[in-house]
């Protein structure tokens, strides 16, 4: 190849990073060189197998840089029809001679309606990939599939991102080269002494230097790991990204449930080098403020933080307003006390833990007003913020009746909403859900309707199950709701119901309009805001023009 040609192909190669798979396919038809040197390697480099096709748009970039292998693109479809397309596409992938080009492969959970047959096919795919042993990231989200393939998975030598389950996961660690990311899933009853022998600990310290660590503890007591690391005198001096979960549970006498404490944590992790932190936490114990104490203890050390994520996790106090308000207070106090927060913080993600049907305790309107005022005090300080991710904000707002009623009756007055909102009003008038605590069917009220809507929109991003901070690295899935299901939703026998999946698209648009006042506020107070994801509605913001637009709805 001529020297000039090489240069131009470097340019093309870089430019191709912004293309989605359809564009790359078109590119591959332009010339043999483009096909061989750019399009094919790029098409196979990063593959993500999803149940539903992803939403595509020319307005944004989330579907670029990856090849999605997905099911049937149709609003009305059954599980077996989706299976056919997905099965066929994976079969075609297996036939390719380019499997060695695959550097990253992500396989979502619960891909097939016919699970047994689907797992066999996926296992075949994973076996082919693992036999080649060139893959750098193999993310198998389905625990059963992972179990089936774990022996081969743990023998892979080139993985840069690793997942470890259970007691034997670290057995082959000596063979692992250059991994920079570890997701460790701990079973509740794990005896750490059997898993992390000092030799393993030293390897972890070495390999994760400059890398990322996620600890997902089934007992929601991740801090026990850091206490154990401390007893081994293990120190992570240069960890860049950290995610952990810990809940101080009420009335839980188990050995693993404990207060949030920063003692060992601060010694083990050099917090001053952390760039990203995602915490799933809460303290449900009355008169205990260990969550606040923990966060206040660590906040001063986080001098390099640019990405911050919080996930509320509750067990006995799900939907209690005062629990949520206290959690918000703890989080916001922590944010305000971060060093250089106005200058450094670029990404903020906050996920609450609302009940499925949205019905909470003490959710009078004034209580939400207090929570809103809290955020109105803190958010304007975050002047460098570019991204806001709020996966459950719709439910957080509409758990309070007045705000849920605003959505249906006092909100957007545009022509579109004026046309469709009365239909959804009719929907709630004619449908009931089964309330387990009441042991009877109850009318679907606006709170319940909004909560089910939020849950349905969350299906766009829920299959990712990784860091909330990374949610904007995935294209959302094209999912719908058939307006039934959840808590045995039924319509009255005398009502001829026409609500199905095809009614979901206008509902998503209505929800995007519901968020307009919130977006109007956000672009006013956050001069550098570029993107938000609010309950599955994606907004792109132009900081220069102070305008925004919805991407998919």
């Amino acid at each position: 190849m001529a020297f000039q040609d090489q240069d131009i192909f470097i340019v093309f190669s870089h430019a191709s990073l912004f293309l989605n798979q359809n564009d790359l396919l078109s590119l591959s038809l332009t010339s043999k060189k483009m096909h061989d040197m750019i399009a094919i390697p790029r098409l196979y480099s990063n593959i993500h197998i999803t149940k539903n096709p992803v939403l595509r748009t020319n307005k944004w970039f989330l579907d670029g840089g990856k090849t999605y292998v997905s099911g049937y693109r149709s609003v009305l479809k059954t599980g077996d029809k989706n299976d056919i397309f997905l099965y066929d596409r994976i079969e075609r992938l297996l036939e390719t001679s380019h499997l060695k080009c695959i550097k990253q492969l992500t396989i979502d959970e619960d891909l097939f309606h016919n699970r047994e047959e689907g797992l066999q096919l996926l296992q075949r795919l994973v076996n082919e990939i693992t036999d080649l042993d060139v893959i750098e990231s193999l993310d198998i989200k389905d625990p059963t599939l992972f179990e089936l393939c774990s022996a081969k998975y743990y023998r892979l030598s080139s993985l840069k991102k690793r997942v470890v389950y259970g007691e034997t996961g670290f057995d082959g660690i000596k063979l692992w080269q250059n991994f920079k990311s570890l997701k460790w899933q701990l079973p509740e009853s794990l005896d750490l002494q059997n898993v992390i022998i000092p030799e393993v600990g030293v390897m972890l310290m070495k390999q994760l230097n400059g890398g990322e660590l996620e600890i997902k503890d089934e007992a929601y007591s991740s801090l026990r790991v850091f206490e154990y690391f401390d007893s081994l005198n293990l120190r992570f001096k240069n960890l860049r990204r950290l995610k952990l979960n810990h809940v101080h549970k009420q009335g839980d006498g188990s050995a693993t449930s404990m207060r949030l404490s920063s003692r060992a944590f601060k010694d083990v992790v050099n917090l001053s080098n952390l760039k990203a932190l995602e915490l799933e936490f809460s303290c449900e114990v009355d008169d205990c403020e260990c969550d606040d104490d923990f966060l206040q203890d660590i906040t001063g050390n986080l001098v390099s933080l640019t990405s911050l994520g919080f996930i509320e996790k509750t067990f006995t106090k799900k939907g209690y307003h005062y629990m949520d308000e206290k959690w918000d207070l703890v989080v916001n106090k922590f944010i305000l006390n971060l060093p250089n927060v106005s200058k450094d913080l670029r990404l903020l993600s906050i996920r609450h833990d609302p009940p499925l049907n949205g019905k909470g305790i003490d959710t009078v309107d004034g209580n939400l007003l207090r929570r809103k005022k809290l955020y109105e005090k803190v958010l304007p300080k975050l002047t460098s913020l570019e991204t806001i991710i709020a996966p459950t904000v719709l439910q957080s707002i509409t758990s309070y009746e007045m705000y849920a009623c605003d959505l249906l009756w006092n909100g957007c007055k545009c022509a579109f909403c004026s046309k469709y909102l009365p239909l959804f009003d009719k929907y709630i008038m004619n449908h009931q859900y089964f309330s387990t605590p009441d042991a009877r069917y109850l009318d679907i009220i606006p709170i319940v309707f909004a909560a089910y809507t939020g849950k349905s929109l969350a299906k766009r991003f829920d299959p990712q199950k990784n860091w909330d901070l990374d949610l904007l690295q995935y294209a959302p899935e094209d999912t719908t709701w058939n307006f039934h299901g959840f808590e045995r939703i039924h319509h009255f026998a005398s009502y001829e119901c026409y609500f199905d999946e095809s009614s979901f698209e206008p509902l998503a648009t209505i929800i995007s309009h519901f968020f307009y006042p919130y977006m109007n506020y956000l672009i006013k107070i956050l001069p550098n805001l570029r993107q938000t994801m609010l309950s599955g509605i994606y907004f792109s913001v132009s900081p220069e023009l102070h305008t925004y637009e919805t991407i998919y709805d």
Partner: protein
């Protein structure tokens, strides 16, 4: 309304998609491209069964799975015909080996689908290629052409019919191009399926009317009465 799943099977280019499109849309495309993977369509018909004293129309909706006939899609076939109520096995009467391919499909269906009630319909397509046009009957010149057309047939009606009888299949020769026999296929299947499922359907209806369900309670939501003294609307 009753709903049944119907799949089409057969070698590539025998006209499966054309039969479906003739039935669903009443159209024919000379240049139809090969089906990739599968296509899903639906169409309803009305049958007029005579159940005892009362004659009542029944609407039957077919959920039609039109499959690709190419060999590369063969591994998907079990996913297509799983839970099917009826299968149209199509062959091309002008292609000698296509009946053998159809036989293979019938064997596979019989071996792998456990349902004795599966209705299998053997269809010989493209009869229009073997029929004399009206003009050929009157013109001696065209008669030669007509004879040539006649020669196109590679599989005799008798051979296929005999095979269908041996296997207990429904059988018909059709033309997706002219529409000859297409509607009748679905009418036949609808009536056959209704006949097979009649008892099951009637007992289900009786359970709903009587409210009894082998001791279980069917939940049938009715609007709350406004005479409820505890209701705020009373």
């Amino acid at each position: 309304m009753l709903q049944f799943k119907l799949v089409l099977l057969g070698d590539s280019s025998v006209g499966k998609s054309s039969i479906v499109h003739r039935f669903v849309k009443d159209t024919f495309d000379e240049l139809r491209e090969s089906t990739i993977g599968a296509a899903f369509l639906s169409q309803s018909i009305t049958i007029h069964p005579n159940d005892g004293n009362e004659t009542k129309d029944v609407v039957i909706k077919f959920e039609i799975w039109d499959t690709a006939g190419q060999e590369r899609y063969k591994s998907l076939a079990p996913m297509y015909y799983r839970n099917a109520n009826a299968a149209l096995v199509v062959y091309d009467i002008t292609q000698e080996d296509s009946l053998q391919k159809a036989r293979n499909w019938v064997d596979e269906l019989k071996n792998k689908v456990g349902d004795d009630d599966l209705v299998i319909y053997l269809l010989g397509n493209k009869v229009d290629l073997c029929q004399e046009t009206p003009s050929t009957e009157t013109s001696p010149d065209s008669n030669e052409g007509g004879d040539e057309e006649q020669k196109v047939r590679a599989i005799s009606t008798e051979e296929a019919k005999q095979y269908a009888q041996e296997q207990g299949l429904l059988f018909r020769e059709v033309s997706a191009k002219t529409g000859e026999g297409v509607k009748e296929i679905f009418q036949d299947i609808g009536e056959k399926l209704y006949d097979l499922k009649k008892d099951e359907i009637l007992s289900k209806q009786n359970r709903q009317i009587g409210g009894g369900n082998n001791g279980q309670v069917d939940i049938n939501l009715q609007r709350p009465s406004t005479n409820d003294p505890t209701s705020c609307c009373s």
